[in-house]
């Protein structure tokens, strides 16, 4: 039995599954409220199907990218559950979860998550209708740069993700007819889509110990960014001397 959840965006989403069946699932809108929402939601969903946390064999956590605090809440909760229960963990990228939800919709899918501070997280996926394959690294770029990359791709792509709330009109303006928007119900991750992805990893033996999964941040902390810029400036000033 797999307990799966993701809190990288405003959605606190949770699902319980076994043998390719979804036993229970629930998604609530909880902007900045994941810490107070997640554990009571786990308890509530398990109780609804009369399953105890002791019966869970694997924990699968969405690991981002997304809100730094959000992904840390899911990952810390997953690590804590797995360590105290002594069970393995699976970490699934939040972009994978979004892309998987659209696997039957289009061949090329690009989940795009608002990274705040004027950037978006994204990656392009290719789907054969049943499985998805990420085509490149996860990137964090300004919406403009994101649009240029998609245009260069020159393929019909389906977009989904909470960045469409913030930048939807900009994307419409900058991108051509090749780009389609998924329906808004697919803009937030649904933990039901974690279950098959986690199952696949479990079958391939790619599970983690409680201390092995980490959030996918993509971006370094702002302080580190500024420090690196400062060091570059110092280095170039030294070169001029």
């Amino acid at each position: 039995m797999i307990l799966a959840f993701d809190t990288a965006t405003d959605a606190c989403t949770l699902a319980l599954g076994e043998d390719n069946r979804v036993l229970a699932s629930k998604t609530v809108h909880a902007p900045r409220g994941h810490l107070e929402t997640l554990l009571p939601l786990i308890d509530q969903v398990l109780a609804e199907v009369s399953i105890k946390i002791q019966d869970v064999d694997y924990v699968a956590s969405g690991s981002g990218p997304g809100s730094f605090t959000g992904i840390r809440i899911a990952v810390s909760t997953a690590r804590g559950l797995a360590q105290a229960k002594d069970i393995p963990l699976v970490g699934i990228s939040t972009l994978d979860i979004l892309a998987y939800g659209l696997r039957a919709e289009d061949r090329f899918i690009c989940p795009v998550i608002d990274a705040k501070r004027g950037q978006v997280y994204f990656s392009v996926y290719e789907s054969d209708g049943g499985n998805i394959q990420r085509m490149g690294d996860i990137q964090s770029l300004a919406p403009d740069e994101f649009c240029s990359i998609l245009k260069k791709l020159g393929r019909p792509v389906m977009l989904a993700g909470d960045a469409l709330e913030a930048y939807g009109s900009l994307f419409k303006e900058r991108l051509d007819d090749l780009t389609k928007f998924a329906s808004p119900k697919n803009w937030f991750p649904d933990a039901k889509n974690i279950l098959p992805l986690a199952d696949e990893q479990i079958k391939r033996g790619i599970t983690c110990q409680y201390y092995e999964i980490m959030p996918i941040y993509v971006r370094v902390p702002i302080a580190e960014e500024s420090w690196q810029k400062r060091m570059k400036k110092v280095a170039s000033a030294d070169d001029k001397k």
């Binding site: 002594d86 980490m214 902390p221 420090w227």
Partner: protein, 339 residues
């Protein structure tokens, strides 16, 4: 070890130390594991909240594992979990609280939230069995400078606190400015030992303010101005004298207000707590001043002054005894008050 009613796991992630500990019956330390993040914050000369949060996620679980191993107990021997839920850095507190909630849920054992400042005060109960309220506690650390009247167990009255910088924060900033290293407290303490505390007469801010509050921003500016002036005049700067004089200005106000608080509240015991309680001149000066007044002074050993989870487990044990519980929908409070 067989199931013991009173084995509490303490978890502390309020600032830049990731810590876990197992304490038996609220007083016997079975393990005390602290993973310091100093090396990641050093180049910034201060704690970077986002880096602290990232490191907590990475280290909290191995630190808990080590605490269990060191105590030679398993998760199923635990009778409760105590976690710091404020005051502190919100993103950092979140990691400890999320971890503690998940573990308490799986193990089906009670969870309690502990105020970080109460934890610091409890470090004294752990080491001094003769200590009992009422007393005055001066809690000084990187994030706090508070004068607290401890009327009874778990009953506090905040007499005063810093209006701007915490003591440890001021030490970090001055040490950073003078390139003495990070963290600033131990760096200044060390170099000040060879200096003359009366060499420079820095302002004793709020000394006669009539209340129990503190302010360190003026002193910080005075130190910076003094150094700039000497440099502009091409005069030699004695770092030991400067450090000792700065430290004396901080310590004088703290000692004077602590003693006045004890006299006004009519108590005969004073307790030092928090990371800055490790400062040599604060300990020495306070000890010297309380003695003729017949006031007893307590402070923790060095390892229990700085942030640790032993103090959280100890304070949590007593909170658990009173039936207090932290609900699964509870969240940390970065500005949590003791009262």
């Amino acid at each position: 070890m067989t199931k013991n009613e009173d084995l509490v796991l303490g978890i502390e992630t309020s600032c830049d130390e990731t810590a876990a500990a197992i304490v038996k019956d609220g007083k016997e330390i079975l393990s005390d594991v602290v993973s310091s993040q100093v090396k990641w914050h050093e180049k910034f000369k201060g704690v970077v909240p986002e880096i602290a949060s990232r490191k907590h996620v990475e280290f909290i679980n191995p630190v808990i594992e080590e605490a269990l191993l060191e105590a030679k107990v398993g998760f199923h021997d635990l009778s409760g979990i105590a976690v710091t839920f404020g005051p502190g850095l919100i993103g950092a507190l979140v990691i400890g609280v999320a971890t503690a909630k998940a573990m308490a849920y799986v193990l089906n054992i009670p969870l309690v939230g502990v105020n970080h400042l109460e934890g610091h005060i409890y470090a004294n109960f752990l080491e001094h069995s003769e200590l009992s309220p009422p007393f005055i506690a001066l809690v000084v650390s990187g994030g706090h400078t508070s004068l607290i009247y401890v009327e009874d167990y778990q009953k506090y009255k905040i007499l005063g606190q810093t209006l701007d910088d915490a003591a440890g924060e001021a030490f970090d900033k001055i040490a950073g400015f003078l390139d003495l290293g990070y963290p600033g407290g131990p760096a200044i303490d060390k170099i000040a030992k060879d200096g003359n505390p009366r060499a420079i007469n820095f302002p004793r801010a709020m000394m006669s303010s009539g209340d129990f509050n503190f302010s360190l921003s003026g002193l910080k500016t005075a130190v910076l101005n003094h150094v700039s002036r000497l440099r502009a005049e091409g005069k030699e700067l004695s770092l030991p004298d400067l450090a000792a004089s700065f430290e004396a200005a901080v310590v004088d106000v703290q000692v004077s207000k602590t003693i006045r608080a004890a006299e006004e509240e009519g108590v005969k015991t004073v307790v030092l707590a928090g990371g800055v309680a490790a400062n040599t001149s604060l300990r020495r000066k306070l000890a010297k001043e309380v003695e003729p007044k017949g006031i007893k002074l307590f402070y923790p050993s060095l390892g229990l002054c700085t942030d640790n989870a032993v103090m959280i487990a100890a304070a949590g044990y007593f909170r658990l005894k009173t039936g207090e519980r932290f609900c699964f929908d509870a969240v940390p409070d970065p500005n949590l008050s003791l009262t």
